[in-house]
Symmetry: C2
Subunit: 469 residues, 2 copies
Amino acid sequence: MQTDTLPREDEETALPQVRDEEGSLNGAYLAAVSEAIETSNAERLRVLIGDLHESDLGDVLQALSREEREALIALMGGDFDWTALTEVDETVRDEILETIPNTAIAEAVRELDSDDAIGILEDLADEDREEILAALPLAERIKLERSFDYPEESAGRRMTTRFIAVPPFWTVGQTIDFLREDDRLPDDFTEVFVVDPRFCFLGTVSLDRLLRTKRPVRIEEIMGEVTHSVSATDDQEEVARLFERYNLLSVGVVDESDRLVGVITIDDIVDVIEEEADEDIKRLAGVGDEELTDTFVSAVRSRFIWLLLNLGTALLASAVIGLFDGTISQMVALAVLMPIVASMGGNAGTQTMTVAVRALATRDIETINPIRFISREALVGLANGVLFAIIIGVVASLWFSSTQLGGIIAVAMIINMVAAGLAGILIPLALEKAGADPAIASSVFVTTVTDVVGFFAFLGLAAWWFAIS
Amino acid sequence: MQTDTLPREDEETALPQVRDEEGSLNGAYLAAVSEAIETSNAERLRVLIGDLHESDLGDVLQALSREEREALIALMGGDFDWTALTEVDETVRDEILETIPNTAIAEAVRELDSDDAIGILEDLADEDREEILAALPLAERIKLERSFDYPEESAGRRMTTRFIAVPPFWTVGQTIDFLREDDRLPDDFTEVFVVDPRFCFLGTVSLDRLLRTKRPVRIEEIMGEVTHSVSATDDQEEVARLFERYNLLSVGVVDESDRLVGVITIDDIVDVIEEEADEDIKRLAGVGDEELTDTFVSAVRSRFIWLLLNLGTALLASAVIGLFDGTISQMVALAVLMPIVASMGGNAGTQTMTVAVRALATRDIETINPIRFISREALVGLANGVLFAIIIGVVASLWFSSTQLGGIIAVAMIINMVAAGLAGILIPLALEKAGADPAIASSVFVTTVTDVVGFFAFLGLAAWWFAIS
């Protein structure tokens, strides 16, 4: 939907552009906003940010310091567009909400769509949320409280409760007249929902269908059957898959008695898809849901736990090395070469694991026979294992003038690369089966396997070879 | 948009459900399809897959073997829905297209929307593509050839050239009548585009606006200004950012003389967002654009290059260890402990790098002062470095009954964790600045830094300490 809310360059008032050609926030514009805040020039600030799209305002808030944000909201007063809070990182939102009295938040929430209101209230402490809800008019409070009854990240939390519902016996003409006359309708919509008197969800009519049909035709004649509907308790990721798979623009949400209680639109789903991919990538690296704006303390804390787990893995690997300290003191070259076997296994395991975790997340894996996938990964590991065994075997033989050492590291390389391929696919599959998130736990397990197998194979083979020769 | 193309359970013909409750393809359904193919039962096949949504058909194709796919397409003949090819992985699409004569592909392409046709023709060899284009009617050929003039992954490749354009002086009534009577319009649309006689892009009218306005009102009075338009040469990722930022449903694409040449819709952008996140996550792990369906050979080849790069890194690290072989032979405990320092640095560096790469990809980084980000990462590295220095210092002292060794590893840990934090942020920023993709190259460089610094700091400190004590 095209909007016309971006302020344009204006000769008279010399407003700087909000964004530069690449779409980044314009430094001169940000400087002007900061200056208006510093000089408490509310009028100038209103000119600068009054008409901003919520997304631009969100980016501006994110770029300002904590104190500037507070001052900006105070200066804007009732003209502040609270939907911008749905566009900033959680940390920034929390910082802003902390400084605002609950009564003012309640005032702001009243003007928001239900899904935006939930986005803002969701992360607040229970007592704050209850205080804010209590300050709302009864009808709104009940509607929001019902949404909070649904689990976090469910369809019920993402849906808007403002949508257009008409009975099946209306004509196209009646429906169009209703749309023309009622000005309490949602701002943008692409579909009209058809319900029976009990509000059971019967079907949908897209706006283009409505426009292209003659006025006397009855809605039930042109209505599309409900083939994609979502239960309010469904997980938002499942809903996102549905949108992606069938190119939907919106979908009706029904409660346990099949009554239409809300609508989820594609713009909310775009955010879910982005968030979800972001979560996968960050979980694989052990930075959880960390955002750029997270505070120093929370970044240290969230990363510490992951690093502690990895310390456990590293100590286990060291213990394996410790088993062979006698062998190493006989031949220091082993210490020089051993990280190579472990590191190549770690990288190969990460490759397989990443393909597996993404295939699980996007459900691509369902179209593939798992046995085919597992055997392919073992074979890929074997093939690259043999190739790198040859390379490292030659390098090690020349470096330390010992074909024995070259042979030992070559065999260890093959063993570890096959182990890496198998661990990379079997561990995510097993975690998924056990109901755990493969993205969050796979890499610790995979690294443990490749480190332990790598050091054990290489040093163990060397010890055995020296014992028998 | 709700569609009614999913076959439902039918008592009489006993059709199995296409998908189970979790949305996965149903095994019984797939078995029925395979059986119909094996027995060359075209009628049964038509019943089973004739009405499938393109996305479901794509998943079915992906789940079948190569031979089954070929037989299915042959059995379906003219009833095969070619749009399904846009829903399968590139490898599967290529395998299918290889077996079909170019004249048959040309026949199929004629029935597709331009963006779908491009999606199918894009990956073909140049000579095949030209042969297919030559077999098309002139008007279609010119339209497709023009799209191919735009760079890969540009807006011009993603746009559809079927859209609704009206002059600004038409009334709402005239427009609605036009929509009602012309049956050559696109299937689904959410906006009407307004152009002048030279086809210059003037503005848009959303369907809900059109529906809610009285018939005599002129289009120019209700049209939204063009604030978000895209040039045909713009990169698809930039277009995706625009959709995300402003919650758009479609956007007009203009050529260099500002003429409206196409429209990009949100369903294509959802795919771009998904692909892009997928690329980032896979590039970080060094598996490029690998898909689950890639053949054994292409998987081995694509991963080999990455592993070769990592072998270089590992050899560099070994060379550093080699510098201190004398020190190690004096004290084997150093060999036992040294992987811990390198591995903790590697993990900490990967954490920072992942946050940085995602922040660059989603443009979040633009709202943050880079100096603030860099100093935060250095501080986080220092803080976790001190914490883990204490832990590993105590462990090492107790394990090897040597507080000296504990002290040495503690100091090395702090040095490497700070180096990891700095490398994790500075390397992606530098790559971005140099015009390279930070996702594809960062992790090799970061690991090199953390391995080299880790081994050098730990072994170097030990060598120095033993030399002076």
